[in-house]
């Protein structure tokens, strides 16, 4: 065909694509050139599974897993947000679990106090972890609460043990509500139902940030601290562990939970319609892979999937998911970490394979369709933490293996 006719044809085709591309709910985020992100701060340590930073305590905490057990590295941040001296803390594991290494799954800081929450589990690391019924779990505490006020972290409380907690799970999250009166926890079981479906719940927190009995007036001395609220029956959208792959507490009654099928509203005030979920195509049933996070100032929930390139978001109103979701496919990426929001930059960051990706958001919190990406010297970036105070995005770097 003559070039003379090809050019008009090209324009017609381009016009038709331009019309199709006007769809706002489905966008492709194109590859961006690798660049230098000035606020990115690499942390070179082995076996990092999770990270959290406290702008109250000026502390960065990193969770590690090894084939001998889990531990934390606790850094003090200097006046510029750079890691200074650090200490390590071995996560407690009962002798009865000998041979079954424990590992931290997630970390969270109290928003007003120098208090750290750690959720841990235990499983065989090699070959790949399989669920095990080990009698040692009867004395294994999943939740550890530390004070990080001093140089050495101090264990304030250790709880969440027994049959109502799933065992050998490798994912989950903990989160506090805005008033820091509740701590939401993952990976519960409902034992009195035939198929023991999964559930989530929360502990009541005292003014010191430590879990307290649901009703202190009736609590007996020495009695294990019970959950304040928990799901009493299974919910389709939260079936199976891990469950609680992100919590967005919106009010005393409503929390958005990351579950098997994506974000799910749990309305504790409703006896008839306690749960409502929106599965963000295409990662239905991606229990181990789904992660959610809420925007700190806008009513928007983001859903990512580990191992995939798809990002989604949806608005909520008082915790109820509403209007059309937005789907994004980010060319050439594989998500490897839970996302973090950088409110100061109006971006959402996620770790990938040898990269960190920062996706631009618009004024409503939706994906703009553009991104920034930086190379990091690690095959998989599995954790991120962001300090709003210091404007630092901490990125784990796996040190090169030592040659024998």
């Amino acid at each position: 065909m003559s070039r003379r006719f090809l050019t008009p044809l090209t324009l017609v085709v381009a016009l038709s694509f331009a019309l199709r591309a006007s769809a706002q709910n489905e966008i492709t985020i194109k590859v961006a050139p690798d660049t230098v992100v000035p606020f990115l701060m690499p942390i070179t340590l082995p076996g990092i599974t999770c990270m959290a930073v406290s702008d109250v305590a000026d502390a960065l905490v990193i969770g590690h897993k090894t084939d001998k057990g889990g531990f934390l590295t606790v850094y003090r941040l200097d006046g510029k947000g750079s890691p200074g001296p650090h200490v390590t803390v071995t996560l407690p594991r009962p002798p009865a679990l000998d041979g079954l290494p424990n590992y931290p799954i997630c970390l969270a800081f109290h928003p007003k106090l120098p208090v750290l929450y750690v959720w841990q589990d235990a499983a065989l690391l090699k070959p790949p972890p399989e669920p095990v019924k080990h009698p040692g779990f009867a004395t294994f505490d999943h939740l550890l609460v530390y004070s990080v006020a001093g140089v050495e972290p101090r264990l304030l409380a250790s709880l969440a043990r027994g049959d109502e907690f799933s065992q050998s799970v490798r994912a989950g999250s903990v989160a506090l509500d805005a008033a820091a009166k509740r701590l939401y926890v993952p990976n519960l079981l409902i034992l009195d139902q035939p198929d023991t479906p999964a559930a989530v719940g929360c502990y009541r927190l005292g003014d010191d940030g430590v879990p307290m009995p649901p009703d202190p007036t009736t609590a007996k001395p020495g009695e294990p601290i019970k959950l304040f609220k928990r799901m009493r029956h299974g919910a389709y959208d939260l079936t199976g562990t891990p469950v609680g792959q992100g919590f967005i507490p919106v009010s005393d009654d409503v929390v958005i939970v990351g579950g098997l099928y994506g974000p799910t509203t749990w309305d504790m005030s409703s006896s008839r319609a306690a749960f409502g979920g929106v599965t963000l195509y295409p990662y239905v049933g991606a229990g181990y892979y789904s992660r959610i996070i809420g925007h700190p100032t806008l009513p928007v929930v983001y859903s990512f999937a580990i191992g995939l390139q798809f990002l989604g978001c949806i608005e909520h109103s008082e915790g109820f998911l509403t209007l059309m979701p937005q789907w994004s496919a980010a060319d050439g990426i594989v998500c490897r970490s839970s996302p973090v929001i950088l409110a100061r930059h109006n971006q959402i960051a996620v770790g990938g394979e040898g990269h960190v990706y920062l996706f631009d958001l618009d004024a409503k919190g939706k994906f703009k369709g553009t991104r920034v990406q930086a190379i990091v010297a690690s095959p998989n970036v599995e954790a991120l933490a962001y300090s709003e105070k210091f404007d630092r995005l901490f990125v784990p770097i796996e040190p090169p293996e030592k040659k024998p």
Partner: protein, 212 residues
């Protein structure tokens, strides 16, 4: 200007008068406002179906009595100075109950938005209730008379003529707040693909227009 580009522009401009009509297809990816509201889940916007007792999900849309589907297509892609010659809403039935299900499609008359549910037509910037819960208010929440009634006897696509509604919206004679779809007959049941999940393009509004 490059000779080829100039030629291209001339070809495109020249084609316009000889094209008698043009058809565009809007899909769910063009829509911001879509919801499934339900009496049993009065605060949820996506009560597509009850997956397990008390758990509502948007994987399917199951239209039954007391559950309504709301959708608003923005029609601003139709250029100014046109006449709407035909508009069809494609309703896709993926599963149906026994017998015939009659689906009523009515224009929504009131503004709705974030937080839309059985109780409220929006909750932001402030909570506004429907005149009658579930957008059931005739001539207040929704048109009293259906724009169309689809008789669903089998699975598949049903092309519903809603030209008059789109004309009303396009000319500005009425505000475009979209449609509400309901099944009013006891025992009626229809499963439709969810715009929030599954492949795209199941929800289509086909508009044909020509220069006035």
């Amino acid at each position: 200007m490059n000779r080829h580009i100039l030629l291209s522009v001339l070809v495109l401009v020249g084609m316009a008068p000889v094209l008698p009509a043009r058809t565009i297809i809007l899909t769910e990816t063009d829509c911001e406002k879509i919801a499934m509201i339900c009496k049993e889940a009065p605060r949820h916007s996506w009560a597509g179906y009850e997956a397990s007792t008390g758990t509502f999900n948007a994987v399917y849309l199951e239209l039954v009595p007391n559950r309504s589907f709301l959708i608003r297509y923005p029609i601003d892609r139709v250029p100014k100075g046109q006449r709407i010659t035909n508009a069809e809403l494609i309703v896709n039935a993926t599963y149906k109950g026994a017998g015939e299900s009659r689906v009523s499609i009515r224009r929504i008359l009131a503004e709705w938005g974030p937080g839309v549910c059985h109780l409220y037509r929006m909750t932001r910037p402030k909570k506004v209730e429907w005149a009658v819960e579930g957008a059931q208010g005739a001539s207040s929440d929704r048109a009293a008379k259906p724009s169309a009634v689809v008789r669903v006897n089998d699975v598949g696509d049903y092309a519903v003529n809603i030209t008059e509604d789109v004309e009303l919206w396009y000319t500005g004679a009425a505000a475009n707040h979209g449609w509400i779809m309901t099944i009013d007959d006891e025992g009626g049941y229809l499963r439709m693909p969810s715009p929030a999940w599954t492949t795209r393009g199941n929800w289509r509004l086909r508009i044909t227009y020509e220069p006035e």
